[in-house]
Amino acid sequence: MMTEHKMPDIKTYVIVFLALVGLTFFTVYSALNWHVKLGPLDLNIILAIAIACTKAGLVIAYFMNLKNSSKLAKTWAGAGLFFLLIMFVFGLSDFVSRWFTVEGW
């Protein structure tokens, strides 16, 4: 029985690799040179995380070939991310909301 197995070709790999390297240089450059502050929030952090997420997305979709993998693999990758976010959001909810005073209830 033929195993039909879709893999990206070499050209795609190299393009994705160059994109990743480009993003790395961009994130280093932006972290060191731009210091945009919006009140207490440091925009650098959001930019750095956004770039890291796009790099992660590229690696998952092309290098790990999730694009052509089964629907099950996609659901389980999504499940891992979903429960990770639960831990972040609910875990941080305690530390962030500790300083809310209760005057206004």
Binding site: M2, H5, T24, A48, F63, M64, A77, L84, F88
Partner: protein, 219 residues
């Protein structure tokens, strides 16, 4: 963009599987579930990092200035390249070209050793400046409380150490794969363990993609 690789060769099917397709899908799903578990494993450390960064804002910023972002950046490039060589190795494995596969795997191993080398340099310089977070931790800086800095370096060594351990395990697996392909070069290249190791290696690279900005760049 993607070409379909129809391999006319057949892999031996384990007794509990019906056909090759079910075998491959099972191994692929099993690996993705394992990686979801690894994601949660590192997720615990990232939660601790985010919480302490929220609590010790200045100490973390001051402590991370002592990290050398150039070495961190170099390590990122090394790992990205090793991801590329790994992906190409998996591709040639599926095409049943065992020589090229061994070549790419060795390239990935070499890059991984490079990564560990850079890490060794980094660690020894940190320990030399007695930034090792146990016992004689010294962090004298105007206006920065040493406790928060010590926690930063505690997290730094734990996260990058655990990541380094995963890189070492990756090197061992790839070494075993190279021997296995070489000794079984007569038969069809069994691409399944190589693809799974590829997935594992890309995950290790993924963790570093998040570690690098969080530890070295932010602030």
């Amino acid at each position: 963009m993607s070409e379909a690789h129809v391999s006319d060769t057949h892999l031996p099917v384990a007794h509990q599987f019906e056909d090759e397709e079910q075998q491959f899908q099972s191994y692929s799903l099993g690996m993705w579930v394992f990686l979801a578990q690894e994601l949660l494993f590192f997720g615990g450390l990232f939660t601790a990092f985010i919480v302490y960064r929220h609590m010790y804002f200045d100490a973390f910023v001051a402590a991370h200035h002592k990290l050398d972002w150039k070495l961190g950046g170099l390590n990122t490039l090394i790992l990205l390249t090793s991801s590329l060589t790994m992906a190409l190795g998996v591709r040639t494995a599926i095409l049943n070209n065992y020589k090229a596969t061994i070549g790419w795997l060795l390239a990935t191993c070499a890059l991984a050793f490079g990564f560990m080398g850079v890490k060794y340099v980094e660690y020894s310089s940190k320990i030399a400046h007695n930034l090792w977070p146990a016992g004689d931790f010294v962090f004298k800086q105007e206006g920065i409380d040493a406790g928060g800095a010590q926690i930063f370096y505690g997290l730094y060594f734990t996260m990058t150490g655990l990541h380094g351990l995963h890189v070492l395990v990756g090197i061992l697996i790839m070494g075993w794969l190279v021997f296995r392909i070489y000794f079984k070069r007569k038969e069809v290249v069994d691409y399944i363990p190589i693809e799974l190791t590829g997935l594992y290696w890309h995950f290790v690279d993924l963790v570093w993609i998040f570690l690098f900005p969080l530890l070295y760049l932010i602030g």
